[in-house]
Amino acid sequence: MASVEFQNVTKSFGTFNAVSDISFKVADGEFICLLGPSGCGKTTSLRMIAGLETPSSGKIMIGPDDVTHLHPKDRQISMVFQDYALYPHMNLADNIAYPLKVRGESVEKRHKRAKEVADVLKIGDLLNRLPSQISGGQQQRTSLARALVYPSRVYLFDEPLSNLDAKLRLEARGFLNHLQRDMGMTAVYVTHDQAEAMALATRIAVMDRGRIVQFAPPIEIYRRPATTFVANFVGNPPMNMIPVEGTVDGERLQLRAHGVLVRDLPISQGIKAALGKGAGLTLGVRPEHLSMGTINDVNMVSGKLFANENMGPEKLVTFERQDGGRVTARIFTDDAVETTENVAFTFDGAHATLFDAEGKRIPADGEMPL
């Protein structure tokens, strides 16, 4: 296992910068997720670690070595591909053992090792099959087995679960998490599924248009999203974002918008500075922090009922404020939402996140690290 480091790495295709001047370090044994929408540069970054793309500028280190211009075969890394890239003409044993074959191991030795790894992944009795003769989940585990069959410094994952159906994906995700705890592998994992990133990563790098917007542990990404982009991307359903007008009333902050009246928020230096500029604020509240209330509550968001979805353990109630902005609440009670036209929800001021006009989160005074 080894660390991975990006030093001012830029990758451009023609005039388009897929990755713009990013720097970060993955410590030995860390599981990092690169999270972002398609086209944000996460896969390009991963492919640069693998050596499948060469940076236009900057430096990439694996452990103590500068690998920027090293051929993939010399990097001692493993990679699991989105389409699994299983060789259709080889049976599973030969597929899994291929990395050992190119390392010059004997047939007996590599088939023995392939069997060991396959047994761990519960595909040990399929070794004589061709990739086309096994299910998608088994193909996924075969590609994982091929990545695990030889000692590797860094494990790279390019959306390895996105071709699985929902149930298998959860199962595979749990297994990957178990594997990480077991092996303590250094891993870089690319995904656009925020739930996957939250579940697996020790730290998440949220990327947008070729840059890293926030690089932090999942809980911090979730509770303190650095920008409105991160807040929107992480969480399902995403954080509710409401543009508001702020006024200071004594030592408390008041926020107003159509259908919104928030009267009890603490004031911070950042808020004062943002209000001083005269620009508006954005109030962010996660759906699970909204609970049913009345229009007389201290912190109140209200509107006309738009949708009421029963998810089993929870309900998603979406309502539309007067200006058309929609807000979703996630409530865990068994109480039926009254099918009145108008609904009102309330939240604890501690759960409110405020963003300035540029979309950056305004920190509270004396904020402690999570």
Partner: protein, 276 residues
């Protein structure tokens, strides 16, 4: 389902028409199967009476014609190996590399290919081959065929390789394979069905071609079957139907055998990526 009377009539009419067209196409084939075994074969179809192998015995006694089969084989196999090897490497490079304007290169080549082996280019080809000093050699025939068939072969294969995910070779290289290892271990076996198609296509093209060997060769002992078949014409230029039929049957067997072999061994099927 019950059909109305006009519908029924239309259907009968259509079937009858289809049958007549089918028979028209089948007639030469039926002749082709019967005539070689008939000592008195003519251009009309007749069931041999009695069946005889006499025609074949006479053909086997014709050294020029038999030598022609061997020459056809040499030229076809030589041409096929050259075309398949060169087209695979070229198409792989064209598909995988990021050379700007590579598709224009392919299309221009394709356009010129019809010129290179076409009748219009026969005089320049003759002059080139003659000035290089390859006149009257197998190599000349093989090279000219390769030149003519390569662009189309490259085009077919490039399209095929374009449809194969790059991740095959990428995963091999990440796993420790050199580009050459990745090509031979992973890419080549996956491309093989495409190569087989090119092999069959090139073989049939060279095997059946008359003009190029006729122009580039002079010695009797280098002529392929397509030229040697004229030894079954009388001096007045009329075909000796019995021998011609027997020789034609022998001449067509390698192509039929190749098709059967390929469809048994490879089944003309393609594997692309694995469906998830």
């Amino acid at each position: 389902m019950r059909l109305s009377f006009p519908q029924l009539l239309a259907r009968i009419g259509f079937s009858a028409l289809a049958a007549i067209i089918g028979i028209l196409f089948a007639l030469p084939l039926i002749w082709f199967i019967f005539a070689p075994f008939n000592a008195r074969a003519e251009l009309g179809i007749a069931i041999p009476d009695p069946w005889t192998l006499q025609n074949f015995l006479t053909v086997f006694g014709n050294g020029f014609a038999m030598r022609g089969l061997l020459n056809s084989l040499i030229q076809s196999v030589g041409g096929v190996i050259l075309v398949a090897a060169a087209a695979t490497l070229a198409a792989y490079a064209l598909s995988r590399s990021s050379i700007p304007g590579k598709s224009i290169v392919t299309y221009v080549l394709l356009l010129f290919s019809s010129v290179v082996s076409g009748t219009a280019a026969m005089v320049p080809i003759f002059l080139i081959v003659s000035s290089v000093g390859l006149m009257d050699t197998h190599i000349a025939v093989i090279l000219v065929f390769a030149g003519g068939l390569l662009p189309t072969a490259m085009f077919i294969l490039r399209d095929f390789i374009d449809g194969i995910p790059k991740t095959y070779e990428e995963s091999a290289m990440v796993a420790g394979a050199s580009p050459v290892q990745a090509f031979f271990d992973v890419a080549l076996p996956v491309i093989r069905p495409g190569i087989v198609v090119v092999v069959v296509w090139a073989f049939v093209n060279i095997w059946g071609s008359f003009l190029i060997p006729f122009i580039l060769l002079r010695s009797d002992d280098l002529m392929p079957s397509s030229v040697a078949i004229y030894s079954f014409y009388s001096e007045a230029g009329t075909p000796i139907v019995t021998l011609l039929a027997a020789y034609s049957l022998i001449y067509s067997l390698p192509v039929v055998a190749l098709y059967l072999f390929v469809s048994w061994k490879f089944g003309f099927r393609f594997f692309g990526g694995i469906k998830a």
